[in-house]
Amino acid sequence: MEKPLDRHLEELMSTPGVTGVVCADTKGLCLAAKGVGERASSGLFSSIAQQAAQLHPDSKTSPVVCLETDQSMILLKNHNSVTTAIHKTLS
């Protein structure tokens, strides 16, 4: 059932620098989480991605949000009601 999604996430986790990933739906329900990605943060990620999309309501594509910290960053992107958050170390 969720094998294709798991396969994509495993491929992503093998990318250099990627330490974790979280997938959530529009309600913030966690669909998948790997690595340092916390299931509990799925609601926050989903909410941030949706709020960011409201900055440009006329845009056809949703924006990529990057939360930067000293050591790592979180890349957020909403696509067709699924929010993906990728934890990545700073290169």
């Binding site: 059932m1 969720e2 294709p4 999604l5 994509h8 996430l9 992503l12 990318t15 990627v18 990933v21 997938c23 739906d25 669909l31 998948a32 916390e38 509990a40 943060s41 926050l44 990529v64 990057c66 939360l67 930067e68 910290t69 000293d70 050591q71 790592s72 960053m73 979180i74 890349l75 957020l76 992107k77 909403n78 696509h79 067709n80 009601s81 699924v82 929010t83 993906t84 990728i86 990545k88 290169s91």
Partner: protein, 151 residues
């Protein structure tokens, strides 16, 4: 005005296919049936009714069960306490959900913008994830409705 006789001998199902005008039980098998057989029929019918009544779970009636006021107050207090405990523990745990803040904002702000490769990475992953979720289907493996063990 006198009401029709209702006693332990009167039928529970009174002429179910009739027009409702009959006040007396109507023997659909005719009057030639022996009285003992009628008794057996009556007891069998009662047995079926009792059996059916005991087997049925009336879902609609579950909501209408009245709750004692003291129980209501007790439960309200209990749920309220649990909610408070959950909120307090959640607040302390929530620090771990997101990374710690930035010590020197100027360093992060002065750093080069997000690389196109990273944008491409998250964009392609978001598309793959969305596609995978859309294709997700529930596989039927076992029965959702489990029959009760009725003897």
């Amino acid at each position: 005005m006198q009401t029709p006789d209702v006693n332990d001998r009167s039928r529970l199902l009174n002429n179910p296919v009739g027009d409702g005008s009959a006040t007396r039980p109507v023997n659909s098998y005719g009057s030639a049936m022996p009285s003992q057989q009628k008794g057996n029929e009556q007891s069998a019918l009662n047995q079926i009714l009792q059996q059916t009544a005991s087997d049925i779970i009336d879902v609609a009636a579950l909501d209408s069960q009245s709750l004692e006021h003291s129980d209501y107050v007790d439960r309200a207090r209990q749920y309220s306490n649990r909610l408070t405990v959950m909120c307090n523990t959640g607040r302390t745990r929530s620090r771990g959900w997101m990374p710690a803040g930035v010590a020197a904002p100027q360093v992060v702000l002065a750093s080069p913008p997000v690389s196109p490769l990273d944008v491409q990475l998250v964009t392609s992953m978001a598309e793959h994830a969305s596609q995978s979720v859309r294709e997700m289907k529930v596989k039927h493996k076992e029965d959702l409705v489990v029959p009760f063990t009725v003897p």
